[in-house]
């Protein structure tokens, strides 16, 4: 199953690295980013996504790690906790999708894979944070453009882009 732009997103309840549970907000836009610890693309884009989370305080951001931690120990819940602690905290909760059900419901393909949801929970953008993981100056511009449109009550001009990154590591 894949969450297509224009479709309502499936809600979830997932724990963050502090043990608190999170779900989609009611009546507020949200950004769901499937990401992880071990992927260089996810790491390269992380600071840009975190900065966007700081810059849009009226939007709820969620980072979700769906990877199979058995085969990829760097993506274990403990490793997620250690990373957030080492960073001195994140401006968005880092959630563990141990069952991988949320990633499957959204059709997450890569880390990172970004979904922008409007206040009704409808997907308005899906894809990469911006055009180039190498260029920090891009500042997650595709994500920001989509958010600006959603907050203005408009359709994003760019509704879908090709996600770029490591494949989601599904359990076999």
């Amino acid at each position: 199953m894949t969450l297509a732009v224009g479709q309502k997103a499936t809600d979830f309840t997932l724990p963050d690295t502090e043990g608190r549970e999170h779900s989609l907000p009611e009546g507020r836009p949200a950004v769901v980013v499937f990401t992880c610890n071990h992927c260089p693309y996810a790491l390269a884009w992380h600071d840009r996504i975190a900065q966007a989370a700081r810059d849009y305080p009226d939007v709820r951001f969620f980072a979700i790690n769906p990877n199979d931690a058995e085969r990829y120990p760097a993506d274990s819940f403990d490793a997620m906790r250690e990373r957030v602690e080492r960073d001195g905290g994140w401006p968005l909760p880092y959630l563990h999708d141990e069952s991988q059900e949320v990633a499957r419901a959204y059709g997450a393909r890569t880390t990172p894979h970004v979904f922008v949801l409007d206040a009704e929970g409808t997907a308005r953008y899906a894809g990469a944070p911006d055009a180039d993981y190498r260029d920090e100056g891009q500042q997650a511009s595709w994500l920001r453009e989509a958010l600006d449109a959603v907050l203005a009550g408009e359709e994003p001009a760019r509704a879908e882009t090709e996600p770029v990154g490591c494949s989601v590591k599904w359990r076999s």
Binding site: Y41, A44, E136, C166, S167
Partner: protein
């Protein structure tokens, strides 16, 4: 001199890495067609090759950026640090060039 690039198709960085290594070999006066490409397809292959992730570049059998050894050998994307500290799915070209030059000098 033997230059090998080990790659896994699940990580999208290998075409960029192959192009970069070939460009650097050309710039260093080496035959870019001599680059040996080896696909790593299974966890068993990864263990046998002591493959720390894709792409892995070896010059005369030595990894140009020796891995830390904390992660298991598996089918994964490899995390590199560029010389300015940024994360990258491919090594810093300066590290590749340095490995090629060192091997040239000792050959």
């Amino acid at each position: 001199m033997r230059v090998e690039l080990l790659w896994w198709e699940g990580c999208p960085s290998y075409p960029e890495a192959i192009a970069e290594v070939r460009d650097l070999m050309r710039e260093e006066g080496l035959d870019p067609d001599a680059l040996e490409l080896r696909e790593v397809e299974t966890d068993e292959d990864a263990a046998a090759e002591r493959f720390p992730g894709s792409p892995t570049i070896r010059v005369d059998g030595e990894d140009i950026v020796p891995p830390g050894g904390e992660e298991p050998h598996s089918l994964t994307c490899r995390v590199y640090r560029l010389r300015d500290g940024r994360y990258s799915p491919t090594p810093d070209p300066a590290d590749v060039r340095a490995a090629l030059r060192t091997a040239k000098e000792t050959t």
